[in-house]
Amino acid sequence: MPQVTLTVNGKTHTVEVEGRTLLVELLREKLGLTGTHVGCDTSQCGACTVMMNGTSVKSCTTLALQADGASVMTIEGLAAADGTLHPMQEAFREHHALQCGFCTPGMVMSAVDLVQSHPQGLSEADIRHGLEGNLCRCTGYHNIVKAVAAAWPVMHGKQPVAAE
């Protein structure tokens, strides 16, 4: 069987996979990282979003073998070792940006990428367009957009997260 070697949340793993094994299957079933969800399995909903080599990808639409040599970050890798939440997680909590929470891991990973890749600032329209690949059945998106806007200054070292 083919092998894939990749770094997940800073730890290197070598895992046996099939050609058809998806990255999300490797993460959830081989590494037990079940924070990454599968919502649609048809590349639409973004629940499976992880960071691969620094950009957001749908792990249900990536073969495990395509991630050979890659550095992957999942929702489990965001918080600090002592449990302190990442500013995006904190902002989601503060701004009530989740209800059932199913979309949240993917939404947070996309949001982190969006904020990191926009050091010049993010308008509300940028946030809505930027999160187009993530569907939420509960929140109506409004509080998610608020949370991402609130996390931007914190992630860029400008001010702390504060609820309205």
């Binding site: 050609g19 950009t55 639409t61 990536t62 073969l63 996309s110």
Partner: protein, 263 residues
């Protein structure tokens, strides 16, 4: 998904001979179309040949051309300052494909090889009169697209890059299908010293096509109103749950006017 063997060759010649030695083998680029197809068991390759290690990504701009490597992602084209400057319409088109996750993986070569009848890139290639370079030849845009999901490519032929001539003015306007984000109708308009070319996606049963009547009118007068009286026949256009052929025919005019205004 059926299982398959997986290869990641390090040289173009090796990738081509791997595909040539096995009619059931398929190339893999970003996987944003191919992996969903595999999941639906619509394709059963014996072997998947990953093009990621062939060094086929990158953007080069000269005084009159923009050349994009086949493995360059939509995201890289969208964010390229060089493309934004040389052919802003092309960067804009790339920025409107799917969503960020899709743009981070999906490639121009994969989009053109696939030739989905609702895909965006085929309009830019056809309207700009681009040249598709493969491992063995150069193919003119007008000869490349041969109907829905059909191109001039042979089974073992790989796109290596696409060369776009830089127009005087150009724009892409897409009326998105709100669920899939593919084009319900997408129009790319390009103005050169030699005349105007207009390519339409999303609308026709045969995939991307040039609109001769609009091209003639816009070559004479590059203004939205120049096409005002021209009726697009609905005969060969798609009708589905999203839009009737007549509605698509109407949208073609509307989106073309918007593209001319934006160019």
């Amino acid at each position: 998904m059926y299982d398959f063997a997986y290869e990641k060759p390090a040289a173009l010649a090796a990738a081509v001979s791997s595909l040539a030695s096995d009619m059931e083998a398929k190339a893999l680029a970003g996987g944003q179309t191919f992996i969903p197809v595999l999941k639906q068991r619509l394709n059963k390759p014996s072997k998947v040949v990953d093009l990621a290690a062939l060094g086929l990504s990158g953007i080069t701009v000269t005084a009159d051309t923009v050349t994009i490597g086949a493995m360059t992602t939509h995201g890289d084209v969208a964010l390229s300052a060089d493309v934004q400057k040389a052919i802003p319409a092309l960067a804009h088109l790339a920025s409107m494909i799917g969503d960020w996750q899709v743009r981070h993986r999906g490639t121009i070569g994969g989009s053109l090889a696939n030739n989905d009848p609702t895909a965006c890139y085929p309009t830019a290639v056809l309207a700009l009169g681009a040249t598709i370079v493969t491992d063995r030849r150069e193919i003119k845009a007008d000869d490349y697209f041969q109907g829905m999901f059909t191109t001039a490519l042979e089974q073992d032929e790989l796109i290596t890059k696409v060369i776009f001539p830089i127009p005087q003015r150009a724009a892409y306007q897409k009326f998105k299908n709100p669920a899939s984000r593919y084009a319900m109708v997408g129009v790319f308009v390009a103005k050169f010293a030699s005349g105007v070319r207009v390519a339409i996606t999303g609308a026709a049963q045969g995939g991307v096509f040039r609109h001769a009547a609009f091209e003639a009118a816009l070559s004479a007068n590059f203004a939205p109103d120049a096409i005002a009286g021209i009726v697009t026949p609905a005969d060969d256009l798609n009708s589905d749950i999203h839009a009737s052929a007549e509605y698509r025919a109407h949208l073609i005019g509307v989106m073309t006017k918007r593209a001319v205004a934006a160019a």
